[in-house]
Symmetry: C2
Subunit: 221 residues, 2 copies
């Protein structure tokens, strides 16, 4: 029997492709975080659709109430507008949720330790992305060390970020090759019915499909 991995699945295209890559070597436990983001209802529906598609059991939906209460991001504080257009190099956009991925990794590591899972997968993207500091490869290396030191001696959990150095176009291409259901993913930061087509996340997604020469099954406005 394959070993077990916890996969952090937001419901976006990056975590969807990450799950498909994880499934090649692992049985899958799916973890989703609700941190009060604007589009959580749609993301959660995608999470469950993807878990069904990949046959992931168990599933855990975590309410990160701290991130909601702390705010400091356009995704969790509706008083801060969502930035539109392409990311600007060297500028952390307002959609950065302060240290969010540490909350996800902490939950994933706790769950992995109890389940006996040996890996945690995260669909972070660094080069071709919005420049969130908690998507840096070095952050994941440091966090893996913190997991190693902060859990039982016999616990061994690797953090795997298989799409971190890919472009969005490469992620689309990998996903198409693996037959992932991109129609069951959600990327838009601000709309839940039809993707806005204007926010950074929509712009990155649209460029990824265009550069991959593919058609996104989810139309943007």
């Amino acid at each position: 029997m394959k070993p077990l991995a916890v996969v952090c699945v937001s419901g976006g295209m990056d975590s969807c492709v990450t799950a498909a890559l994880a499934r090649e070597r692992f049985r899958l436990a799916f973890l989703h975080g609700n941190y009060g983001q604007r589009t959580e209802a749609r993301e959660l529906a995608c999470f469950h659709a993807l878990a069904d598609h990949f046959g992931a059991e168990p599933r855990l939906v975590v309410d990160f109430s701290a991130l909601h209460a702390i705010g400091g991001s356009s995704l969790t504080d509706r008083a801060i507008p969502v930035r539109e257009g392409e990311p600007v190099a060297g500028v952390v956009p307002t959609s950065y949720v302060p240290f969010r991925n540490a909350h996800l990794l902490s939950a994933a590591a706790s769950w992995a330790e109890v389940l006996g899972a040996t890996a945690v997968f995260v669909g972070a993207v660094w080069e071709d992305s919005s420049g969130y500091p908690d998507c840096r490869p070095e952050f994941y290396a440091a966090f893996e060390k913190a997991i190693d030191l902060g859990t039982r001696d016999e616990t061994r959990i690797a953090i795997e970020t298989p799409v971190i150095s890919l472009t969005k176009a490469q992620i689309v291409a990998r996903g198409l090759a693996l037959g992932v259901p991109f129609g069951s993913t959600w990327s838009c930061y601000q709309a839940e019915d039809v993707a806005c087509g204007a926010c950074e996340s929509c712009v990155l997604r649209a460029r990824g499909f265009a550069e991959a020469g593919a058609v996104d099954p989810l139309p943007q406005r």
Copy 2:
């Protein structure tokens, strides 16, 4: 004006003394975690009493729903009995909550980044303790590095663990010298009215007061 620090305050004696030490150099923001532990109601009352005592504002109470859902500890799963007596060297007790302190540190770091706080204080104790792996000094060093890499470049947050190498008796002595209200703390893992006197945490506390030649204002059964 002094800089601001986020202090993780469980309501126990170690975090109480840690807050007193932090106050010497910082203004205080108090963070408390509810992770579904057996004695949360009493701990939360102590948290607010200590925040009043130390004049800590703002305060944030975080619901770590993941830790509650994940279980794997006698503190969060009532089907697992709380171990009684002195800790056994080299054995992680059932009261270990898997990777709990990473959840606390993640919340503290996110909050510190938004508040502009430059330090996070944690009352972890390593040598004279139950041997929880997430109380190791090396864990805090690794997590500090993860914070440095996973937050904005201009964010600088030091993790401070001023009682980590003290014995329980030394912590009692420091607290008495600083005039902390030990009567407004709670250590027992399983009772909320009168401390049981039997669980590891009660045993460590009783020994600390005895070795310091002091009387605990909170009687144990």
